[in-house]
């Protein structure tokens, strides 16, 4: 009996520790990014890092301004957002409200399938299909452009947007819609005058999490945006994002070099962006309840 009590005591402590593990790992990630990344600012000012216009990490001395990368990420993200919001929210409405039973399950399955495809596979498919298409349509020297990245990333954000927006629509009390229909509104009027406003904070959260997915996406974007670390003048030129820079260059950076520190500093920037997006989205989701 006492052995049992002891065993249970130990197990319950392990359960508590595991419960706290998520907090522990978030802090650990942040600390280790800081540990390696903050060393950069012994030699470079924060403003020179964030606003510097040149990223030449292997010149002598290295130029480590990430403004072109930030703009690259922003451009690709903005493009992806513009594409994915109408399509994603539209699909969410269609699936939640309009599609009949069997079709609904098929469509949901298709979107879950999309979420399951590894990003490197999507990147590969983008390389062999989308990139030549963009090149030919716009008569460009290369199809590896911000636009290609935006389209691909929009596609990758959609499962997130659709599923969370659909949940938001689904969780609206039925009598909202029925009330509108009883007053003689058409189904569409009920959707866009009553359902959409009621689900707005959930849909907003869906969009934010979709954007979060886009900003953090690495492999596909690295494979199809051309990786030119210059300030982009148009959406039809090659760009390089924050994530792609880290992924492409960390392999060559010498541990302890300024280049290495700078890549970790980019990691800090990415971590903070994703932290802000996720916390805000979570607040929106909780507001709904």
């Amino acid at each position: 009996m006492n052995m049992r009590k002891l065993k249970e005591f130990i197990i319950e402590k392990l359960i508590l520790l595991s419960g706290l593990a998520s907090i522990f790992f978030v802090i650990l990630i942040f600390l280790f990014l800081m540990k390696e990344g903050l060393a950069l600012f012994n030699t470079i000012k924060v403003s020179a890092f964030l606003l510097g216009k040149s990223w030449y990490p292997i010149s002598e001395p290295p130029l480590l301004g990430i403004l072109p990368l930030i703009l690259g990420s922003l451009l690709v993200t903005a493009g992806a957002t513009v594409i994915s919001i109408p399509i994603g929210v539209g699909a969410a409405i269609y699936i939640a409200e309009i599609a009949p039973g069997a079709l609904k399950e098929i469509l949901k399955g298709g979107i879950e399938l999309l979420a399951a495809i590894p990003s490197v596979v999507l990147g590969f498919v983008g390389m062999v299909t989308l990139v030549p298409l963009v090149k030919n349509v716009f008569h460009l020297p290369t199809g590896l452009t911000a636009l290609s990245g935006s389209i691909m990333l929009a596609f990758m954000a959609m499962p997130t947007i659709v599923s969370i927006a659909e949940d938001a629509l689904y969780s609206i009390p039925k009598n909202y819609k029925e009330g509108a229909l009883a007053l003689g509104a058409t189904h569409w009027q009920a959707i866009h005058r009553v359902m959409l406003p009621a689900a707005s904070s959930g849909i907003l959260a869906a969009i934010m999490l979709g954007i979060g997915r886009v900003i953090g996406e690495t492999m596909a974007v690295m494979m199809i945006t051309g990786n030119a670390a210059v300030i982009p003048q148009s959406i039809l030129v090659p760009v390089r994002t924050l994530t792609a820079t880290v992924a492409a260059e960390m392999g060559e950076a010498v541990v302890g070099s300024e280049h290495y520190f700078a890549l970790f500093a980019i990691g800090i920037v990415l971590f903070i962006i994703s932290f802000i997006i996720n916390v805000t989205a979570d607040l929106f989701l909780h507001k709904r309840q």
């Binding site: 419960g19 390696e36 539209g90 699936i95 399955g109 498919v125 866009h192 953090g216 960390m250």
Partner: protein, 283 residues
Amino acid sequence: MMRNPHRTQRIAFFLLLTATLLIVVPVGYILLVIIQKGLPAISWQFIFDIPRHGMKAGGIFPAIVGTIYLVSGAIAFALPIGLLGAVYLSEYSRDNILTRIIKLAIVNLSGVPSVVYGLFGLALFVVFFKFGASILSGSLTLGIMILPIIITTSREALESVPQSFREVSLSLGASKWQTIRNIVLPNAVPGILTGTILGLGRAAGETAPILFTVAAFYLPQLPGSIFDQAMALPYHLYVISTQVPNVDEKIRYGTAFVLLALVLFMNLVAIIIRYRFRKRKKW
């Protein structure tokens, strides 16, 4: 002029359908392309041979094995912590600030960009713990990455076990842990399994977290221990599609096919388990 609401509705519904098709049709197209061009590349030799001639010929066996090792390691690390963490949230936590912070941490953990996991794994496991670029470092990195998936799905599974079962067990004088161990966990197994398999699928497909923690560009033999580097399928696909010029298209599509088949197979298994569980549910 009065707008006809029914015509507006028809137009709106047509646009919504178009939006949905714009997502679903490309998904079908992607699968079709990869199956059509990848399937012919699949042969006994492609699966079980090592890459040859600078990866322009031969097979992908070391990458398959590497991925299996990495995924197994990740799950061995993440499942116990994730499951116990879910038990904490479902059975022990109260509605307070701490619980709120834990949930927020899980949300954040699932939102951290995959390449940042790569950086973290590099800093902590490769450099700080001096594991080097190794299966161990890669598995641990992937393990932390899939932790939120396992916690979230397991927790849902645990919470779906009716409260009355717990009350009955406790009313018979069973302890809290006995109740969890004998009543709650066994009835949550299908849900936990689903989450675990989804986590496996995610770990198998990720590239960025393993870039600097384990992945070998080209390694003609199989890894011998958890301190060795290893090839991995997603990284191999990245390498032969962007880093090595003039690789036969067939090999690229074949690799993409194997990776996709592996990931989708795991998802399919998860869906089947979930479906059968729902049908069989006794309460």
